[in-house]
Symmetry: C2
């Protein structure tokens, strides 16, 4: 399991990316993350919904209610134009972050 301090700051882009691929609702995203990472990373519900709030506040995503399924009604999110730009910039930043940390982490085997 990956530690939360290590993933910190990367959750917004990760979630944004999943919404970018397809409109998503919370529960589905948390399942997707576990699935794609083979359970090496699991997002906690409280964290996920906090991220949604931040993303929506920054107008990077917008929400709408979908069908009622399995009890609660699903709240879907779609990415905005601003969100797409932010995502692209995040990907660039991630490349730079990797470069910088690699500077210090290489050659330890």
């Amino acid at each position: 399991m990956i530690k939360s301090d290590i993933i910190r700051g990367h959750l917004e882009p990760i979630i944004l990316r999943l919404i970018y691929e397809n409109d998503q609702y919370g529960y589905e995203i948390s399942k997707q993350i576990s699935l794609r990472t083979d359970n090496r990373f699991q997002i906690k519900e409280a964290t996920l919904y906090a991220v949604f709030q931040r993303l929506e506040k920054k107008d990077l995503i917008e929400s709408y209610y979908g069908s009622v399924s399995h009890g609660r009604k699903r709240k879907y999110y779609r990415i905005t134009t601003l969100g797409k730009a932010y995502l692209k910039e995040s990907a660039r930043e991630w490349q730079e972050t990797k470069e910088i940390i690699d500077l210090f982490m290489e050659g330890l085997e």
Copy 2:
């Protein structure tokens, strides 16, 4: 400049790595980091000394006083055996972190 939320959680290994190469004192480390990253990342003093405290508390480094230079006496740190093991494990974790985040960040160009 790289954002602190993105680097968060990686500072302990970075600093440990620099101490691993050579015994270091705080001011030197902060200069080294700026230098090696071409000022793309600068550690703040308060942060640096907080990291030292955590590393020392976990017995990953130990300190000794060196020569008095430019006013204040220098406090040097050396890595412990435990610290070396921790560093190796951190490097492994970093590889895994990269893999996981890359899963979500790839194919956005």
